[in-house]
């Protein structure tokens, strides 16, 4: 009978190596999956941007060799900017989105702090109602909101549109910020009180600087939601001069004969309209992730 050492299959070092290899294989698989998903998501955007630089004359060919522009043709951009009121619409969108962002943060930051730190009657009802608003599809409340704005004399006004956008962004921002505040240790605020600071000083010197990532995340979300809104802006704003960018682009191109040249202009206009939210996301991507993550972990 042999007594020599034999490696038992699936034990000791052999098992460790197999586990490591399996982990590597799994992470490679995940990376490929993520790449495929990213490409699937990016494809339409990439197509829009590439198309906007194509020669408008061969816009509708599906030949992939034509998909990549051979030279940077800016004629579609020139035409889109020259024939439409795009600068004005973008300025309107900026005004609405920036105001919505400021209003959302002004309301949601203190509201979230109160929800995270204070005990008061009706607290759970407030939290419940703020979440339930997401269970209702926007299209259902378009008409009631429009009627309310008419009653208030705020239809066809930026103030009205900003208020409507804020009704959506405030609950979400409050939710994100509430969880963000909860991730800030209470000890820090209490240390502030013991150090001689009052509530406002604690908010100003301790809570506010520590909640910047959360505020940026909530603010960026509010801005992007307001910027991208089409439905409410279409219903509320009547005059072409007051259109926001998505509505303006839609209004200009709807009903026209969409020849090759017009398609290319539409792509150019869409690229311009998408640029601010893409830039914003690019700048604040780090904060968006940390802001939403902290809310995810704690929530």
């Amino acid at each position: 009978m042999g007594t020599g050492l034999r490696e038992v299959p699936g034990s000791g070092a052999g098992r460790t190596i197999t586990a490591a290899a399996a982990r590597r294989r799994r992470s490679r698989l995940l990376a490929i999956l993520a790449l495929v998903m990213t490409l699937a998501i990016l494809f339409p955007f990439l197509w829009i941007v590439l198309s906007s630089f194509r020669d408008p004359q061969n816009f509708l060919t599906l030949d992939l060799r034509d998909a990549l522009p051979r030279s940077l043709d800016l004629s579609s951009y020139r035409l889109a900017l020259g024939r439409t009121d795009l600068f004005n619409w973008v300025a309107n969108s900026l005004l609405v989105a920036a105001s919505t962002t400021v209003l959302s943060l002004l309301v949601s930051a203190p509201a979230a702090f109160a929800l995270s730190r204070l005990e008061f009657r009706g607290k759970s009802a407030v939290q419940w109602f703020s979440m339930i608003s997401y269970a209702v599809p926007s299209i259902i409340i378009v008409v009631p909101l429009f009627l309310i704005l008419v009653k208030l004399g705020l239809n066809n006004s930026f103030a009205g549109l900003i208020l409507v956008h804020a009704t959506f962004t405030i609950p979400f921002s409050t939710w994100v910020l509430r969880d963000f505040y909860q991730s800030i240790p209470r000890d820090l605020e209490e240390a502030g009180y013991v150090d001689g600071a009052g509530l406002l000083q604690v908010l100003r010197h301790i809570v506010l600087p520590l909640s910047i990532p959360g505020l940026l995340a909530a603010g960026a979300y509010a801005f992007i939601l307001s910027w991208n809104d089409f439905l409410f802006a279409l219903v509320i704003m009547d005059e072409a001069a007051a259109y926001t960018a998505p509505v303006g682009v839609h209004a200009y191109f709807t009903g026209r004969f969409l020849g090759e040249s017009t398609w290319a202009q539409l792509m150019a206009a869409s690229s311009i309209v998408s640029l601010p939210s893409v830039l914003l996301f690019g700048f604040f991507q780090r904060y968006l992730v940390s802001g939403f993550l902290s809310s995810g972990v704690k929530g």
Partner: protein, 364 residues
């Protein structure tokens, strides 16, 4: 003068969770008082009540003879070191230390001088520009202390300030803390569950359990004369040996009868029996017993713990009663051996088995 007084203070959470119950405690100026107890005993709540971070349901809190119940923390002249250190992560060490001065309107030049002086005292000179995330645990702890002392408050509150440090650093910091308290001549109130820390630092220990004060006394009193079974068990490592049994008079002598029997000397002078055969608990510290060739109790040794300067023998007496006994560092007793031990009668303590309270010699 910065004495701190608690008079009949009670605090409940959510209406029915009793955190502190009818607590009365007097801390004199310049005294180092340690609130000692297990988790959830109400010691941290007591500290937070003194700090003003919680409001009592009943009773009075006095600082410097003045009732401060309704004063917010910022209006009480005290500083607090939190267990988590609670350093402001977005401020440098210098800014952390100067924050309290800034909030109290101390001029910048004076604030800078005071921060430098405190930093020198705590060896933080080279770290003033660093941020908390760049500091080790020990450094963070010193910054937290620095933030407290820079304000020169009347009272220092410390909530388990050493619990996050490793064993060696903890021992070193205890010495530093004691030196600092003597140097500042401040009133220090420290919360801990570590009885070694309490014994080393305190002028006065207040032992708490389930929100109630069990005993206040000097470390020597708490160790030698615990007021009840809880204090006897909680203070001391290894804990006090506690053996349930009865005191019986037999032919003019007095004996303890439990899992093992022990004859008590001088029956007429010390061991008067109040109620014959009443159940009691006999207590003695491990160092009150010694290994002897012809002792009172036989012990089957199960474990020998070598602490370097001393050994402790853990084992079972007849009937399974578990006991621990101190032995010389040079003792050759090994686990598995059966030894006999002698217990010094003058160090015996007796507790009422029903109430858990210690019964004074002479009234037993």
């Amino acid at each position: 003068m910065a004495e701190v007084g608690l008079k009949g203070v009670t605090k409940t959470y959510s209406g029915d969770v009793l955190a502190v119950s009818d607590l009365t405690l007097q801390v004199e100026h310049g005294q180092f008082v340690v609130l000692l107890g297990p988790s959830g005993c109400g010691k941290s709540t007591t500290l937070r009540l003194i700090a003003g971070l919680e409001e009592p349901d009943r009773g009075e809190i006095l600082i410097g003879g003045e009732v401060v119940n309704h004063l917010p923390p910022q209006k009480r002249d005290l500083a607090m070191v939190f267990q988590s250190y609670a350093l402001y992560p977005h401020m440098s060490v210098a800014q952390n230390m100067a924050f309290g001065l800034k909030m109290r309107g101390v001029p910048t030049a004076e604030s800078r001088d005071r921060v430098r002086a405190a930093a020198r005292l705590l060896g933080l000179d080279d770290l003033l520009e660093r941020y908390p995330s760049q500091l080790s645990g020990g450094q963070k702890q010193r910054v937290a202390l620095g933030r407290a002392i820079v304000r020169k408050p009347a009272v220092f509150l410390l909530d388990e300030p050493l619990s996050n440090l490793d064993a060696q650093l903890r021992t070193e910091t205890r010495v530093e803390l004691l030196k600092l308290q003597r140097q500042l001549n401040g009133t220090f109130i420290l919360v801990t569950h570590d009885q070694v820390e309490a014994m080393m630092l305190a002028d006065l220990i207040a032992v708490m359990k389930d929100g109630t004060l069990q005993q206040t006394g000097t470390p020597e009193e708490i160790y030698a004369k615990p007021a009840n079974l809880f204090v006897a068990r909680f203070v001391g490592s290894p804990p006090m040996n506690l053996v349930p049994g009865d005191l019986v008079r037999d032919n003019g002598t007095c004996s303890f009868r439990g899992e093992f029997s022990l004859r008590l000397p001088h029956p007429n002078r010390r061991w008067r029996i109040r109620e014959p055969n009443s159940p009691i608990v006999l207590g003695f510290r491990p160092e009150a017993a010694r290994v002897s060739s012809n002792g009172d109790v036989r012990l089957q040794v199960e474990l020998v713990e070598n602490r370097g300067s001393q050994k402790f023998l853990y084992g079972s007496a007849k009937g399974g009663q578990r006991l621990s006994v101190a032995a010389d560092p040079g003792s050759s007793v090994r686990s598995g051996e059966t030894i006999s031990i002698t217990i010094a009668p003058e160090n015996l303590l007796f507790f009422d088995a029903a109430t858990g309270k210690r019964i004074c010699p002479g009234t037993v």
